[in-house]
Symmetry: C2
Subunit: 257 residues, 2 copies
DNA sequence: ATAAACTGTTTATGCTATAAACAGTTTATG
DNA sequence: CATAAACTGTTTATAGCATAAACAGTTTAT
């Protein structure tokens, strides 16, 4: 962990490394390990066995080093996790098709595209969803994703704080929808769903829980016609909501919250 | 942990206890401890020192018993957490004012009321937000909250699966908005925000991150005029979106997602 | 040549959840 | 009534966790 500049020491975990602020060391034995190698192996492990399997000891073992060797390159496990998540998000190369389709997409299309793209990353590395969001993004790829979303919203008439709020909510929406879809995909055999509903009917008071029971008795639900499209549904609702705000704004009208 | 009925053993953690399915034991020494007492002390601890402070050893110590004594009443720490969360949500006594204001509120008002009420519970027990949502609700109070939300949505023209999707998304929306607001309230001195923005300007390439930098330079943001109202903003957007769907539905028109 | 800076290992600490065995207590059953 | 079953709480023990501290070896700047 080469770090002479003391100002780097008190940056949030992962920031210094993710941004390449730690200058390479000149003295000392040449390192066999590196943050990048550690992160790569840790991500492979998380992909295969989930985030719970990622311990410092296990990652080190997979690398063929001792546990403590990792601490020469990472300040803490927290730092490892931050860097794993950022690397797993990766660069959002939403390369606009330059030739042929030269028209800028409207903000809804661009936002939808963004949502599907980040959903894909969640599906490739579902364990990202097990790492709780701490605060505003400070790592390179997360900021690139935010940038892309803000570019999608740029043509709108939203104010700055409306844009920021919307962007954060859209990110949350994709995150929680995808989490729900993956949870369901993991646990829901047809049996499990029926077992759940059966349990509800056993436990719930039909009077006190009439809506819940009514809903789960609805034949439409059993068909699960739109299963796996919770994201689209939620997204379109939210986009409609943004559009309604802009329409009100555009027509000069204004209404209290 | 009195449990003779073996069918109770393989219910999800917390379900048997939360629903009072474990019949009281007749033989044996009378218990000094009980799930309720343990949960109560654990919640007090979490309220004061956060969820991270809640270990079996610490809870037992606060109770004046040995660590292992807890396992006579709870099958695992997971079970304790499930029961803590359900107890912390509590009963949603959204008592409709019976006299005088006898008019049923419209669905938007009712939903808004629900959202503010559950937000209040999050604020009283912020550590609920640190416990990840696992699957569909199966504990009594969580189901009561779901019931109340479904009652708010009952008068709408949404289909069953649209209602369920909307309810789950509204729950997610309140959860993540409140989490954001609390995170900000915890960490954001004016200094911290400026430090964050300063860091961004140091690290980001003005070309590659023009929208992010532009946004954070916007004087409107610095004022933080709508700080602490992320929930209302997101909620009204989503409600508008639901309304737009119903309007389209009502006018017979239909559009592809 | 020497000292500084770095890498990786060994050893150790204190925390975590929880399994297993045991002692004591109450009650249902012979 | 005696005994066995069922329960409660304690003691002891284990395996895992993150990470601090000391140490040995290596490379390079001085």
């Amino acid at each position: 962990m080469p770090q002479k500049d003391p100002s780097l020491t008190d940056l949030p975990p992962g920031v210094a490394i993710a941004w390449g602020l730690d200058r390479p060391s000149t003295r000392g034995a040449k390192a066999e390990l590196s943050p990048a190698r550690i992160i790569e192996v840790a991500i492979r492990l998380a992909d295969k066995e989930g985030l719970a399997a990622v311990s410092m000891a296990r990652v080190a073992k997979d690398l063929g080093f001792t546990t403590m060797s990792l601490y020469r390159h990472l300040r803490s496990k927290e730092e490892l996790l931050v860097l794993m998540v950022d690397a797993a998000f990766g660069d959002p190369d939403l390369a606009a098709p330059e030739v042929g389709d030269r028209a800028e997409p409207d903000w809804r299309t661009a936002t939808r595209r963004w949502a599907k793209a980040i959903e894909q990353r969640y599906r490739e590395h579902p364990w990202i969803l097990d790492y709780p969001v701490t605060g505003p993004p400070a790592s390179p790829n997360e900021l690139l994703w935010l940038e892309q979303l803000l570019r999608a919203l740029a043509p709108t008439t939203l104010t700055a704080s409306e844009k920021l709020n919307s962007a954060l909510m859209l990110a949350n929406l994709v995150r929680s929808s995808t989490r729900m879809e993956l949870d369901v995909a993991d646990n829901d055999t047809p049996d499990a769903f029926e077992a759940y509903v059966g349990l509800l009917f056993q436990l719930l008071d039909p009077e006190q829980h009439r809506e819940v029971l009514g809903l789960f008795s609805d034949p439409e639900l059993a068909v699960m016609e739109d299963a796996g499209d919770e994201l689209s549904f939620a997204l379109e609702r939210y986009l409609d909501g943004m559009e309604a705000l802009m329409a009100r704004r555009g027509s000069g009208a204004d209404q209290p919250g």
